[in-house]
């Protein structure tokens, strides 16, 4: 099952925690807000993604339509 990370831009406070938890796919822009690199997640990456989703309420995993 393919999943994609999504940020809720209204809830996001630019804390940067998500990028710390999942640096493989999340970087921060000039102002500290997350930029998500898309692409399939391997099993190992999925674990990191799950960590970010679990810890940061503005990050959600969306199933691909």
């Amino acid at each position: 099952m393919s999943r994609q990370l999504r940020i809720d831009p209204i809830a996001c406070t630019g804390h940067g925690l998500c990028a710390e938890l999942f640096p493989e796919r999340i970087s921060l822009d000039d102002w500290g807000y997350p930029l998500i690199e898309s692409g399939e997640l391997s099993a190992e990456l999925s674990e990191h993604a799950q960590r970010a989703v679990a810890s940061v309420s503005a990050v959600a995993a969306k199933r691909h339509r």
Binding site: I7, D8, P9, I10, A11, C12, G14, D30, W31, Y33
Partner: protein, 439 residues
């Protein structure tokens, strides 16, 4: 009598400047609306098929196929609400207020036909409470409707709202109609799923409903009888800037920019650029005057007509100062909810304003285009995307002027002229009064 086969203008037929058309005159000009077929399930409703065949696309800015949107509402559980979006937060546009103030029954006809097809019991007409004459026109038009109170017909309610650029954005509009602050919300849920009072909600632009009123009467083949294959029917365009008579004109789809400008009295000075689509639109060089307002032709320039706006920038204005002022305005109009709006648009706007200063330059000019790329698609709504397109197309079209300002600071025109209208701000030069007449 009904409209003759291909009479023109269509929407603006019988318009008397300064007057609101009565229901009786409206019926005389357009004929009655036959809603007798309106007993079927919405998804296979003949009107829906007709709208699809007509190729009707919404006139609120995004140009989304109307039939798809109506069908999405029809497929939901629960009784839908129909919302007429007459907020017209875009200060370069005048068409929606023209329809509401002068031809409200065309708009109400379309909304009633759609509400009945969707078995909706409620139509909300959302408009700017501060627009001169709007409230009176809306109240009178609603009171004049003969269907009022008839079982089986939807109730029509005027909803005057405090206007701001964002109030017309659909999720912000739903929030405002639900009694909350007019700020966009995260989607999904989309308004078609959960909107006003939590019910499935169809939100369309004022002109979209007016066009539907004509499709109900004359059908898709008639609708496509004017305009081009890709831009069927007619549409309203607000023409402003360096033209003799800024106004709203009705034109067949696919008309050239030049014909629009001619219909507005012609240009008053040589042009340095054209803004197509408004503050979420695209700047094009003067050569674009011979472009057809055709979605495909415009898209080759990354442009679209948006809510139907063409603004001609004359030689005497400074494009850098105009774009800087408009961008600062867009930044202030943002809901300030998302990082990209607060910071990204803020940085872009500050860097642009700096170009019109005469003192210290931080050198952030070189970052503007990258920042435009960075803010697009990352807010909860499309405001930053529109602003970014507006700014980056300006920088491409007026490259020499931007470079000049980056090196030498402000020019003379920066200081003493401002021609782009921004709600709540005075222009720096007198603007000819806007007459609203059909061409």
């Amino acid at each position: 009598m009904m409209l003759a086969a291909q009479q023109f203008p269509r929407l603006l037929a019988g318009l008397v400047p300064g007057a609101t058309m009565s229901f009786a005159n409206h019926q005389l000009i357009h004929g009655p609306m036959d809603l007798s077929r309106h007993g079927r399930a919405a998804s296979e409703h003949p009107l829906l098929l007709e709208i699809e065949r007509a190729g009707l696309r919404g006139y609120g800015g995004a140009g989304f196929p109307s039939a798809t949107k109506i069908a999405a509402v029809a497929a939901q559980q629960g009784r839908p609400v129909v919302v007429i979006n007459a907020m017209e937060g875009e200060s370069l546009s005048g068409k929606d207020m023209l329809l509401i103030r002068h031809l409200p029954h065309l708009v109400l006809d379309g909304a009633i036909a759609i509400a009945m097809a969707l078995r909706s019991d409620r139509i909300l007409l959302a408009f700017d409470s501060g627009a001169a004459g709007a409230r009176r026109a809306v109240e009178r038009a609603i009171a004049e409707r003969p269907e009022r109170g008839t079982p089986g017909f939807p109730e029509i309610v005027g909803a005057p709202l405090g206007a701001a650029y964002l109030t017309g954005q659909e999720t912000a509009l739903v929030a405002a109609l639900n009694g909350k602050a007019a700020k966009p919300t995260l989607t999904p849920p989309y308004p078609f799923e959960r909107g006003v009072s939590g019910r499935p909600t169809l939100i369309s632009n004022t002109e979209t409903f007016a066009q539907i009123a004509l499709i109900v009467r004359h059908g898709a083949t008639w609708f496509r009888g004017l305009g081009s294959e890709r831009a069927p029917g007619t549409r309203l365009v607000t023409v402003g800037g360096a033209v003799a008579r800024p106004r709203v004109v009705e034109v067949p789809g696919g008309t050239t920019v030049r014909r629009l400008l001619d219909a507005s009295g012609g240009v008053t000075e040589s042009l340095q650029g054209l803004l197509v689509g408004g503050y979420a639109g695209t700047w094009l060089p003067p050569e674009a005057i011979d472009l057809a307002l055709d979605p495909l032709e415009l898209s080759e320039y990354g442009a679209s007509l948006g809510p139907g706006i063409v603004f001609a920038l004359g030689e005497s204005a400074c494009p850098v100062a105009e774009v800087a002022a408009a961008t600062a305005w867009l930044h202030r109009e943002s809901a300030g909810q998302c990082g990209v709006c607060i910071n990204g648009l803020g940085a872009i706007s500050a860097a642009l304003l700096e170009l019109c200063d005469d003192g210290y330059h931080s050198g952030s000019y070189g970052e503007i285009e990258r920042w435009c790329g960075l803010v697009s698609g990352r807010g909860a709504c499309a405001l930053p995307d529109g602003a970014a397109a507006f700014v980056s197309s300006a920088m491409a079209t007026f490259r020499a002027e931007f470079e000049q300002h980056a090196r030498h600071g402000h020019c003379d025109a920066c200081l003493d002229r401002r021609v782009l209208p921004l709600a709540g701000q005075e222009l720096l030069a007198p603007r000819p009064s806007r007459r609203l007449v059909a061409a």
